[in-house]
């Protein structure tokens, strides 16, 4: 072992900064989230705004319990049911004409009728839903339960 700790306070702190940068850096997910934070809208507030926004139709509280909440987002014939629990976001998709994209901070999760959405996350993590049909694109804000 070779480091010399008999240095002044400022030099010791500088040495520790190097150690901290290697051993415990700020995770990228924190930085990404923080930079998005001003545009992340709480679902409750977003729902009030989204309800007036056609063609997107949103319904909340289809199920609301200790184990999770369910929301419904619909555009045309496409409907996405999103269940948010403490550890996962699970979504089901119905519809033929529209494609749906689900995105969280980890990136895009493909959505299809067979597989739906399954994201291991914790309650409160933001996500955004985008509906596409040809050139028509309907997207939500970044939403957070």
């Amino acid at each position: 072992m070779s480091m010399n700790f008999d240095v002044g306070d400022e030099d010791l702190l500088q040495l520790l900064r190097t150690v901290a940068a290697a051993e415990d850096p700020v995770p990228r997910s924190v930085l990404d989230f923080a930079k998005l934070a001003p545009s992340i809208v709480p679902l409750d507030r977003a729902l009030a705004e989204l309800l007036d926004e056609r063609p997107l139709v949103v319904a909340a509280g289809l199920r609301d319990s200790d184990v999770g909440q369910q929301y419904r987002f619909a555009v045309g014939d496409a409907t996405v049911y999103v269940d948010i629990s403490a550890t996962t976001i699970v979504g089901e998709f119905e519809g033929d004409e529209w494609a749906v994209e689900f995105r969280d901070l980890g990136g895009v999760v493909d959505v299809d009728v067979q597989q739906g959405i399954f994201v291991a996350t914790s309650r409160g993590k933001p996500f955004v839903l985008t509906f596409r049909r040809g050139e028509d694109v309907v997207t939500t804000d970044w939403l957070r339960s």
Binding site: M1, L16, V19, A20, L31, K35
Partner: protein
């Protein structure tokens, strides 16, 4: 001896962020995230919980940035909020501060190791020793590891001590850390001093 400048234009960044300047907000995040992270980690939270605390803190800051009375005190606002979130999370999870790493156990091996591995191990050991400090010292030291470091005012707010007490406490904590480092990592150098 290095001279670290205090955060000097947080107020300008906060004011610009209020008016929707995304670049200013990003700079604010880059500048102050290490401070928020240091508070979360210094409370003994694991990385997963520290991520939650950090994200919640930034979300709350985004919601309140327009109403913060003194923008220059944004670092204090963030650290105080992070501290409250830490306390809330610790109470909720009742998790204990991690015990000292088992990495200490394999000190003193005579097996040859290559230089890079040895440097990694040394860094890990130093970090373990930092994490063994009493809570107040751990919080203080980790806050001062952010670059630029927070003001004494901000540190005082988090530790709930007077501003005048921060300097002496900083010296005492670093002195204690130095002793621990000698004992655990570099005992021969400690004996010589």
């Amino acid at each position: 001896m290095s001279q670290v400048q205090p955060i000097d234009n947080v107020e300008a960044l906060v004011l610009a962020s209020r008016s929707g300047d995304q670049e200013a907000w990003a700079q604010l995040v880059d500048r102050l995230s290490p401070l928020v992270w240091s508070v979360a980690r210094s409370f003994g939270l694991d990385r997963h919980d520290a991520v939650d605390v950090s994200q919640t803190t930034w979300l709350q800051f985004a919601r309140h940035v327009a109403s913060i009375a003194e923008p220059r005190k944004a670092p204090g606002w963030l650290t105080t909020t992070a501290r409250r979130e830490c306390i809330r999370m610790v109470k909720a999870s009742r998790r204990e501060t991690p015990t000292p790493s088992a990495a200490l156990d394999w000190m003193g091996t005579d097996d040859p190791v290559d230089h890079e591995v040895e440097a990694d191990a040394e860094r890990r050991l130093i970090w373990d020793v930092v994490n063994e400090l009493p809570e107040n010292c751990r919080v203080l030291v980790k806050m001062f590891l952010t670059d630029p470091p927070p003001s004494y005012e901000t540190v005082a707010e988090v530790l709930q001590i007077s501003v005048n007490a921060v300097g002496p406490k900083r010296s005492r904590c670093l002195g204690g850390l130095r002793t621990l480092l000698h004992q655990r990592i570099n005992p021969s150098a400690g004996d010589e001093s």
